[in-house]
Symmetry: C2
Subunit: 320 residues, 2 copies
């Protein structure tokens, strides 16, 4: 059976057609979010038609379409309730896309972080595990929860906001308004801020050299790059890892999944990230020795997690 | 159909026989935990036989037995992996009880906090809601998670350790070894400690009067009792409420249930507790205005939550 998956991002729409484990075609198109919801949905219809053409298929060959959308999603009614990223409020997504496609193909949607987690669970790093979390360490901290192979959404799709768990009451202000959120300490944004702060305190740090003397060149990679060669960089990373481990141990105690998968920009550190996290993460697990292990792994699907997860969502909701 | 529910506590074993929504009989017996696992299971068999006798039923009239047990429970294999409270390690509970009862009745077990949450969901304060959490504020902070009317246990029953989520990194030491756990701030134990500390700083506080000049008389009730009449007491309670709200908002953002039910000693404050929590709790919800509501409610079943939940567990696992 063939499924189409769509991953709607703030800049690009990615899509693919999958048959079993095989990707028949994948494609990408600009989101054009500044032109509003109607135009964005036009673009989604466009990429779907283009992929059908490229693969020589017709819409009637497709069992179902899945889509991962940024924001608060009412998956039962097929609506985007609210998307800060796209500036959408109550968009009747499924109906609008169905009208554009002109065919009776079923369309299923969920939040993009949930869908990426399902992608890793169905095709990627969490393949071996019925229960897993995907934590993306990027501009923010995103979270997706898979229980028994299925997305856990919470009431009206508003759950799994794992980045907005306070880990340090009264701490750094988060974009959500609270103080001390996991996201405010463990996003790439937070690491960049901490790196810059440390550089301003230590004018002799090697960090200045590798960013060409300009703090504007600091990325989520900068401090990791100097981890073994610069004391200031090491301190920044160690502190970052401490908070990240705190949040991950919390989530392990709450969900006790078989695996936690790390995605987003920071996860490009790969094995170094896992090695640094292992000890503080495991020491935070409740009933450490007697409880079941929780594996920490790096995400495998990178930019394809979204559309692959969307295909898996379509397959699952169709009961296949 | 008739079900037997058993709630194994550190001091007492409570049990009941339920037919639909009707409690036919309930009973209680000492746990005798100092005599070891075999004797405790003898006592469970004893209370089951006693209840059958009292209700004029035979074991063959019972569709299934459920039990809530303290500790890390492998519900699939019917084993207690570890119980700190009972000092049990790897006890083959279901098999041992089955041998004692001598009949082929199915027995299902889960962690006591999970089972109490199911009790409130099936018979109590969360009846109207498919998704709910029960948070018990007692000696520790216990948690049970109900998703779609069913207990969420995590891998090998080791999940839902909601009290062991760090809300203040580097904060107060918790019994589990971590620093800053929800439990270390929101248990009755934590409130008692904070009350005593505040009293030692303010020798003129009314708190001294109502506990007869003796800090050993301080309970989880003391500070609440003087909330409206003593500035020091108010400060203690307000601080306690702040941390409690922080943890509850975290759990709401993670699970987005329709309701969070509060149980345990502190929940005896009833409407005062709810009134104090409402504002700080709701301001911590992600996407406050646009997201679905999360009701805060006081548990209804008190000491019966355990055996009623155990009956609901038996009924559910039997697929009824």
């Amino acid at each position: 059976m063939k499924f189409i998956g769509v991953d709607l991002g703030g800049t690009n729409i990615k899509g693919g057609i999958v048959d079993g484990d095989e990707v028949l075609v994948k494609d990408e198109i600009k989101t054009g979010k500044e032109q509003g919801a109607e135009k964005v949905i036009d673009n989604i219809a466009e990429i779907i038609k283009r992929m059908l053409f490229q693969s020589g298929l017709r819409l009637s060959d497709i069992a179902a379409i899945g889509a991962g959308l940024p924001g608060m999603i009412d998956s039962l009614r097929g609506m985007v309730l609210y998307s800060n990223n796209l500036r959408w409020v109550k968009v009747d997504f499924v109906k609008s896309l169905q009208v554009r496609l002109g065919g009776p193909v079923p369309i299923f949607i969920s939040n993009d972080a949930n869908v990426a987690a399902l992608g890793e669970a169905a095709f990627g790093a969490a393949r071996a595990f019925p229960d897993s979390l995907l934590i993306t360490l990027g501009t923010g901290v995103g979270g997706g929860v898979i229980i028994g192979g299925k997305i856990f959404e919470g009431n009206m799709g508003a759950g799994a906001e794992l980045g907005h768990m306070v880990i340090k009451a009264g701490g750094c202000r988060c974009t959500c308004g609270r103080k001390g959120c996991f996201e405010a300490y463990s996003s790439a944004t937070a690491l960049i801020k901490q790196t810059k702060k440390a550089m301003l305190r230590d004018r002799n740090s090697q960090l200045w050299t590798i960013c060409g003397g300009n703090v504007d060149n600091v990325s989520g990679k900068t401090a990791f790059d100097c981890y073994y060669s610069d004391e200031t960089a090491k301190k920044v990373v160690d502190k970052y890892i401490g908070y990240l481990a705190e949040g991950l141990s919390n989530l392990a105690n709450i969900f006790r999944p078989q695996a936690i998968i790390l995605g987003g920009g920071i996860s490009k550190q790969g094995q170094l990230l896992i090695d640094l996290l292992k000890e503080p993460f495991e020491s935070g697990l409740f009933g450490t020795v007697l409880g079941p292990r929780v594996e920490l792994k790096i995400a495998e699907l990178k930019n394809d997690a979204g559309f692959l997860g969307a295909c898996a969502l379509a397959r699952q909701r169709l009961g296949q």
